[in-house]
Amino acid sequence: MASSDPIIRLKELTKIYQQGEIRVTALDGIDLDIAAGEFVALMGPSGSGKSTLLHIVAGIDRPTRGECWVGDIEVSRLNESQLAEWRNHTIGFIFQTFNLIPVLTAFENVELPLLLTGLAPRRRRELVQTALDIVGLSDRSRHLPRQMSGGQEQRVAIARAIVTDPPILVADEPTGNLDAHSAATVMETLQTLNGSAGKTIVMVTHDPRAASFGSRIIHLEKGELIRESATPPGGGTPA
């Protein structure tokens, strides 16, 4: 459940890409607060800056101007090494194309982020098992990505994102490559993680149905935040 304290605070966030002589303003002075436990959907046409916003929040891109606070840390001030460590503890990533390592089993894919933590193998196994239980794929732990459906792969990716117990999940078009049924399953999993586990979720999507699972929808256009809307209680329930 969302608390009133913002876990993410963006101040005058601006991102300008310089491509030769052409300047492209991807984000233009965005101010935005996202409370801990919120499930925010970022929507907008292609080139609206929603993915750029997500990347900056996740610490994989830097703003040209402005501030991006996550908790009490100004993310854009961290150096690369600090950012890497921060991401490992704070952010869970879910991508449109799943991005599982093809030569690793589901279990090993989920275990990957834990290799950086220095946890004992036994503890790592427990955490991986718990993450796979949460996404309902314990029975597929020994399967390789190619032996699973797209929906299952995305749920493994979700398990990988949550295995380090990060407070924030960022999802970039998590249902973009899935059929309607798998997409609904994935969104329900995210909703559960938001509701039961209290994860703050920031999701980019083109899909209004996926966006309806969020507690708030933010619309961007040409790098500007143009509109916010709250989804009705129970939003996201498959039609």
Binding site: E80, A84, R87, T97, V103, L104, E108, L112, D172
Partner: protein, 381 residues
């Protein structure tokens, strides 16, 4: 799963490419090791105990110009000289074989055994050789290859000398440095050619190693300003100069080694670059998860090392097995008495492989260092 398993799975994820890369490294290292052994055998010939006491004396003009036989007694009287023997290359043809299938030298049998103390020849066979004008001794490897036995008759057709020789095997010697040659009595060569006045070269044994420089100087001085000036030098120096007659073969082999290593570097670097480039999105994901650039570099380095190490084990291992196999030993013995892959050469090949592992990982590592997560993810599109 641990990081080692992760690296192993990544390195072998494209089995065919990994296998081809390993085989390329193995083939190149096999060639590299072979060339190094050739280089060593040519430039650092094996030495026995007597090598430090032996002096080769040849015509100063050229090895192919004969020396007068009258020089023998003069050399023998030089202080510090223990023994002198003529040493003349015959170079005859044997059987139906083309060219000279094995080395043949005319020597003085009575002095020969003392001249080469490491050569093992039973006393009765030596006595038989000395007593038999047409007798000869053959090396164990040559005897086995040509099925020569004591009493076997060998006909050598002269290609340099205008005569044929009918020899009888009086003995079979064992000698680690060279057991592929044939030695016969110089008197028989003199008889056969009707020429008792010349020899190819002189082989001189010094009483001790300290006397060698003085003997060389005296021999050179003794025949200075004569019609047959000589060049006396240690046996090893003679071998080296003999090798140099083939041209700057050391430089040639060194150049080939360099090309082999360079090619090997390109092959490995290319494989690693391809392997890493196609994994940009995955590497971007790993970065997003919190893996640092140095950790990804370590993965790439480990993968590169692994492929190079597998290739090294395969290439060096195969070279050892190959050059120890009896048919190859027999075939190589014609050119090199000893063709052994020493620990030093193995270590050099291993260092080259390790160096390759590092060099091959450099370009991919730079690519990964420059790779931002966002760019890596963009390659997914």
């Amino acid at each position: 799963m641990n990081l080692g398993a992760f690296i192993l799975k990544n390195a072998l994820r494209n089995t065919r490419r990994a296998l081809l890369c390993v085989l390329s490294v193995a083939a190149c290292l096999f060639l590299f090791v072979s060339l190094l052994v050739c280089l060593r055998e040519l430039t650092v010939p094996p030495e026995d105990i007597g090598a430090s006491l032996r002096i080769a004396v040849r015509n100063k003009v050229s090895l192919t110009v004969q020396l007068p036989a009258r020089q023998g007694p003069i050399i023998a009287r030089v202080p510090g000289v223990a023994a002198v023997t003529p040493f003349s290359w015959f170079g005859g043809q044997f059987g139906t074989e083309e060219g000279t299938p094995f080395a043949q030298f005319a020597v003085d049998p009575a002095k020969f055994a003392a001249m080469f103390p490491d050569m093992r020849l039973p006393a009765d066979q030596l006595a038989n050789w000395i007593a038999t004008r047409t007798g000869c001794i053959v090396g164990r490897d040559l005897a086995e290859k040509k099925n020569f036995k004591i009493g076997s008759r060998i006909t050598l057709r002269g290609s340099v000398w205008p005569c044929d020789l009918e020899l009888i095997v009086s003995g079979i010697y064992d000698y680690e440095i060279d057991s592929t040659s044939l030695f016969f009595d110089h008197k028989y060569l003199d008889e056969a050619t009707g020429n008792t006045g010349t020899v190819g070269a002189w082989w001189v044994l010094a009483e001790n190693a300290e006397a060698v420089p003085g003997i060389i100087d005296r021999i050179n001085a003794a025949f200075a300003n004569t019609s047959a000036e000589v060049r006396a030098e240690t046996e090893n120096a003679f071998r080296m100069s003999f090798v140099s007659m083939l041209g700057d073969i050391a430089t040639l082999i060194g150049a080939i080694c360099t090309v082999v290593v360079f090619t090997l570097g390109i092959v490995t670097a290319s494989t690693m670059s391809m392997a890493v480039r196609e994994r940009f999105p995955e590497l971007a994901i790993l970065k997003a998860m919190g893996f640092r650039t140095r950790e990804l570099w370590a993965f790439i380095l480990a993968e590169s090392f692994l492929l190079a190490a597998l290739g090294a084990v395969l290439g060096i291992g195969f070279a050892i097995a190959f050059y120890r196999s009896p048919p190859v030993v027999s075939a190589m013995s014609i050119y090199f008495p000893v063709f052994e892959i020493s620990p030093r050469i193995m270590a050099r090949a291993a260092i080259v492989a390790a160096g390759l592992g590092i060099v091959a990982s450099l370009a991919p590592a730079i690519q990964v260092a420059r790779l931002t997560v966002v760019d890596g993810l963009r390659t997914l599109d």
